[in-house]
């Protein structure tokens, strides 16, 4: 009897241990639940062709509804999976090569390139003629290219800019004129010198930037070599320059040490940042891309209790270096059974002049969407102001933003015009699928180095170890 108990116990232990190895497969078991669209579309009537679209943002649902208007015999089944903790990527990875794969997938900047480089996206190069017609900004479609094949297009262009506080600029630099400020902050040496001025004139109570992580993107975007050259990990001088600059900012107290997307970072936007002792602190500038204005800066410019607001006190300039941040690309899965329809959907969303104009100028209101599909949520409307990827559309609509809410927010400056000026100089040719993971791996060692707990050499070793851990086939010296 005892022996039997022992055997059963061992078996039980084994089966518990076995669970450990099941982890990589685990997401697959969750996938079926996710394929049920959370927001059910109008019930398919008659012989509607079903198009499955997966996304991590509910933005594209708006376009999907508009698509159903022009394509009445299509039922777009829209599945939205958040990517807060990587759920979207995990679920998408788990369905690759199975029957559950969607027809069209939305891909975010951080992982679009790894899909474009993979075998899973279809060649949709015949859409390029529309891209040429609409004069899409080159970086928008270059991101969706691998080995000369077009696999994804985006409706947005997401050039970055520098937002600064007008009142503080007047105080420290004697002017809040964007032209003058751009001259003062035109490159990173100037930006660092200006940080010193801000610190001195404010008595250390205003920080040039919320965190040194804010400007990492700028340096990465202006490298001359990609991270991986011929299968070998490569560090461009721009990366060294970034680390130097970050160290200067940390050591001299030019940054508020408020990590991106965390409380302190947002508090700086509405002037409620306080250090631990309760002293008020200010942040002079934020590096944000097109979407950062309506989705990040604008909503956070008033504190939660409404007591402090910085609305109207902002201005935008190109900043020290051109860069781009984020963006949503659409690709077609190779296994799709509706190739032509899926391509048409991508064309409609990303390369259709009328749709892009409607999207950017606020035509897609609640009433508009509900008239097509009464079941769309009440907050589905798309407010005017998203920066689209087509130069043709941008040029036609820029003037319409002269009096927009965003222009008032920026003290009368037309942000759309500002982004239009910045967009052509952005370059995304160096983007690779492994970028995100390689750059992420640098964060922790870099922070330890900035704190002074490790040396520069130790930082590189730690980073290389971390990269090696995630990329077993990469040559790392």
């Amino acid at each position: 009897m005892k022996r039997l108990f022992g055997f059963l116990a061992v078996l039980m232990v084994m089966s518990l241990v076995l669970g450990a190895c099941g982890t990589p497969a685990a997401p697959a078991t969750q996938a079926p639940a996710a394929t049920e669209p959370p927001a059910a579309e109008a019930p398919a009537t008659g012989e509607k062709t079903v198009l499955n679209v997966w996304s991590f943002t509910n933005e594209i649902l708006t376009m999907a509804v508009a698509f159903e208007k022009t394509h009445p015999n299509v039922d777009v089944v829209y599945t939205m999976i958040p990517m807060t903790n990587g759920e979207y990527q995990t679920k998408l990875l788990a369905t690759l090569g199975t029957a559950d794969v969607p027809d069209v997938v939305a891909l975010e900047a951080a992982f679009v390139k790894s899909y474009v480089e993979s075998d899973f996206l279809a060649d949709i190069g015949d859409l390029q003629k529309y891209a040429d017609e609409l004069k899409m900004y080159p970086f928008v479609y270059e991101v969706g290219m691998a080995n000369g094949i077009h696999k994804a297009y985006a409706y947005q262009a997401t050039p970055g800019a520098l937002f600064y506080r007008r009142s503080l600029a007047k105080e420290y630099f004697g002017t809040d004129d964007p032209v003058e400020i751009q001259k003062l902050l035109g490159d990173f040496d100037k930006y660092t010198a200006a940080a010193q001025v801000v610190k001195e004139k404010s008595g250390g109570n205003t920080f040039m930037v919320a965190s040194s992580g804010d400007f990492q993107n700028l340096f990465f975007a202006n490298r001359e070599q990609p991270w991986v050259v011929d299968g070998k990990l490569t560090v461009d001088p721009m990366v060294n320059k970034m680390i130097e600059t970050a160290k200067t900012f940390r050591d001299n107290g030019y940054e508020a040490r408020a990590t991106q997307w965390q409380e302190g970072w947002f508090a700086g936007m509405n002037d409620t940042l306080k250090d631990a002792a309760g002293n008020p602190k200010k942040v002079f500038s934020y590096f944000l891309p097109t979407w950062g204005l309506p989705y990040v800066l604008y909503p956070n410019s008033t504190s939660a209790d409404g007591s402090s607001t910085t609305k109207g006190d902002w201005a935008v300039v190109e900043g020290p270096l051109p860069y781009q941040w984020g963006g949503t690309w659409l690709g077609v899965m190779k296994e799709t059974k509706n190739m032509d329809l899926a391509k048409e959907f991508v064309r409609f969303c990303t390369l259709d002049e009328e749709n892009l104009t409607n999207w950017a100028t606020g035509v897609y209101t609640n009433e508009y969407l509900k008239a097509i599909d009464p079941t769309v949520p009440d907050d589905q409307y798309q407010a005017a102001g998203d920066f689209v990827g087509s130069q043709v559309v941008v040029e036609k609509i820029t003037a319409s933003f002269d009096d927009s809410e965003m222009s008032k927010f920026l003290g009368g400056q037309n942000s759309y015009g500002g982004f239009a000026a910045a967009a052509p100089s952005v370059n995304a040719r160096l983007m690779q699928g492994s970028d995100d993971a390689i750059q992420r791996a640098l964060n922790d060692p870099l922070n330890s180095y900035l704190e002074g707990t490790i040396t520069l050499d130790e930082m590189w070793t730690l980073w290389k170890d971390a990269v090696r851990n995630e990329f077993p086939d990469l040559v790392i010296e």
Binding site: K2, K113, A277, N443, E451, R468
Partner: protein
């Protein structure tokens, strides 16, 4: 005789659901993991090949993997030992007939409560408490304990301490309840007899309680070991999901997940981590059985 044989067949029918479930959800993933661990398969490419022991060579040449193994052991031991001490203490107090504590049920519930909270909620809670602009810094600086704010999230010792504390805090209630259940199952007559023989409290604990709750102890030890070796949610969610700061809370499973989740989805390499962890855990679990096996095997057999 023939009838008996037929009856036996029903047995197979009854165990079939378990066997089928085990084969599909237990054995198949394991076999698949073992196979995968000898390949260079990635999720982003449809072609792959067998590469022998290359994955394992990479693993052991890689300091990150060794760090993850040591971290996992340290984090588990540091929370398991205090957990057992506190759980024993509480279980003894709660079941002691002479102390007759009031409100045992209430305390038991309170101690078990943290276990019901979602790991993500707990991690988010502690993350915001200890962030640079968070309440812990505010309280400590304003009351004069600290001259200026500390970036707790970036301090390896503090983050490890937090992981250990959270794991302890979430699981000591569960262990207490298991131990209490085992202790109350012991017949009071044994203690009465011991009292008559003049035994002290410690002697009774050593000679009666411990030997009789041994099966439960083994169960706790092994389940906790398995759970500890797979520690994932709290350390993953507490910082950046990469075991930062300085790989201080990088565990085996985070390491495996990072390989799976890298931009190419290296499932071959990730499986090799899983396999090593599986072997390690199995060996240690069997060692525990061996060390804590019934020493008086002969009388036990006679008993049967």
């Amino acid at each position: 005789m023939k009838k008996k044989i037929r009856h036996d067949q029903y047995g197979y029918l009854f165990v079939a659901p378990f066997i089928i479930g085990f084969l599909i959800f237990g054995l198949y993933p394991v076999v698949n993991t073992i196979v995968l661990s000898f390949t260079d398969r990635t999720l982003m490419s449809s072609t792959w090949s067998f590469i022998g022991l290359k994955n394992f060579q990479n693993l052991f040449a890689d300091s990150t993997f060794v760090t993850a193994i040591t971290n996992t052991w340290e984090l588990w031991l540091m929370n398991f030992i205090p957990q057992m001490v506190i759980a024993f203490l509480l279980a003894i107090w709660f079941t002691n007939n002479r102390l007759k504590l009031k409100g045992v049920g209430v305390w038991r519930m309170i101690f078990y409560m943290p276990n019901l909270m979602m790991a993500s909620a707990v991690a988010a809670l502690f993350f915001s408490l200890f962030s640079f602009y968070g309440p812990v810094n505010q309280v400590l600086v304003r009351s004069g304990f600290l001259p200026e704010a500390i970036d707790f999230i970036r301090k390896p010792a503090i983050m490890r301490g937090l992981v250990v504390f959270i794991q302890w805090w979430m699981w000591f209630g569960q262990t207490t309840i298991l131990l209490m259940a085992a202790m109350t199952a012991i017949s009071p007559s044994l203690y009465e007899a011991a009292l008559v023989d003049g035994a002290g409290t410690f002697q009774m604990f050593r000679m009666i309680t411990l030997p009789l709750i041994k099966p439960v102890l083994i169960y706790i030890l092994v389940t906790s070991l398995v759970g500890g070796m797979q520690m994932f949610d709290i350390p993953y969610l507490l910082t950046d999901g990469r075991g930062s700061p300085g790989n201080s809370i990088l565990t085996n499973t985070i390491n495996m997940y990072m390989k799976f989740h890298s931009s190419k989805g290296h499932i071959g390499a990730a499986s090799s981590v899983g396999l090593v962890v599986f072997l390690m855990t199995s060996v240690v679990a069997l060692l525990i059985f061996f060390l804590l096996r019934e020493k008086h095997d002969q009388p036990a057999k006679a008993e049967r």
